[in-house]
Symmetry: D2
Subunit: 148 residues, 4 copies
Amino acid sequence: MSKRAERPGRGDYRRFFPVQTRWTDNDMYGHANNALYYEWFDLAVNTLMMEEGGLDPMHGPVMDFVVESGCRYHEGVGFPDALEVGVRVGHLGNSSVRWECAIFRKGEQQASADGFFVHVFVGRSDQRPTAIPERLREAMRRLAPRSI
Amino acid sequence: MSKRAERPGRGDYRRFFPVQTRWTDNDMYGHANNALYYEWFDLAVNTLMMEEGGLDPMHGPVMDFVVESGCRYHEGVGFPDALEVGVRVGHLGNSSVRWECAIFRKGEQQASADGFFVHVFVGRSDQRPTAIPERLREAMRRLAPRSI
Amino acid sequence: MSKRAERPGRGDYRRFFPVQTRWTDNDMYGHANNALYYEWFDLAVNTLMMEEGGLDPMHGPVMDFVVESGCRYHEGVGFPDALEVGVRVGHLGNSSVRWECAIFRKGEQQASADGFFVHVFVGRSDQRPTAIPERLREAMRRLAPRSI
Amino acid sequence: MSKRAERPGRGDYRRFFPVQTRWTDNDMYGHANNALYYEWFDLAVNTLMMEEGGLDPMHGPVMDFVVESGCRYHEGVGFPDALEVGVRVGHLGNSSVRWECAIFRKGEQQASADGFFVHVFVGRSDQRPTAIPERLREAMRRLAPRSI
């Protein structure tokens, strides 16, 4: 294990999105199941894209599909923790984007977990990869650590 | 993308565990959210460990924590698909095990998604890493592609 | 409390639908949360309507909305129990139907929980109540204890 | 239907608890599944009992089991709505309590859904009904509309 040195800190992320945990998030071990962390990443990223990039998941011209994801878990979190998802864009392509996310307990500097996922954008009607709309792309650029 | 060549087939896994999808598995896009795949992996692996390795999650001397996970998604699945989780052990250490899993639609030869996760076993009372109990280790060995 | 006498048995339902429980169904108390029972009811009823009544939730002309639900819990169930949802139609109106459901542990005669929910059917385009399509209505009639 | 007259308003509840919706709360119809409302009720009530009544779900001497629940749905809600759960105590017995809850969209006066559930308290070790601890009972009294 010995991964403490690799735990990212708050300075590694561009935006922080609050997540409310739920009673039902915890499994029999009293912590959130590993799958939940991906739901929280999704919640943060999709909300940012809707609020800042104009994504309309139900009716807009594009949909975002996840093609890869991963996460490292450093310490257990769960209800009733107040959490924040740190978000940055790691790579921005023509039709795809790599989101890098981390879970922070409110007030803590080191991430409890860190991961990523890759979105590919497709047209709603043909389900084929398509260029990310410009307004959305601009919102993504603002979440990248440097010009990408 | 162009990842079709990397999609694993049924021959790459040692055991297949059926998973029933649910109405609530599907999100607004009509497919299962990416986080669900990890729940299905968990369900398959924990059930196998309980049934074949004597794991007792609520009362036994050891608990299994996930320290890392990842998944690649090749095509969308969801309710009402009948699914199977292919399972194999990729690495077996003293206190940890790497599970490699894939999602197959019933009757299909190529995986719709493939991923992995790493379990570390800890003592229930001290929450410190501990050797995997022998009966459980034997069950894991039977799920490894070759002697590991 | 003293509700044992009211627990329905298998003879009170017309059809039994298997439900696979999941690791993540259990909460910190080691049993399924009360909300899950409603997901299982939904799963059973929607699958029956799709398989036997031609309901097409994503593309068909009608959608089903729940306007009321209720459940009594007689004993805790959860992962890894094998469950069955008993289903019957309690009332069939022009645009609405009352489903009466119960949860049985496999092999048990008395219900672990029993409840109901009411579906109202609306047109996909106008979201106004509409008559239940005839093929679906016939499937519902077959699930009623007597001619209704 | 014609239930508009029965929709409760904010004045019918004693406390309001914020709930953050999630991408994964929405089903294929683009709204939260009916089962989710019960999860939100649970979240509000359990948090209030923990914060104001000293309930310790994992280690305390008592556990709360739900023996009955019900809900009426007046209009669909879901991600990305900001919600509030209105809470009041409807009945307070020796070992049981009836919670009456409603879902409000932020800023709206009429409930989108209203329901209830009944908790029975049991001892952690013997799982038998037991008197509600005094500190918890006081918190419940403060959530009752009148002295009960």
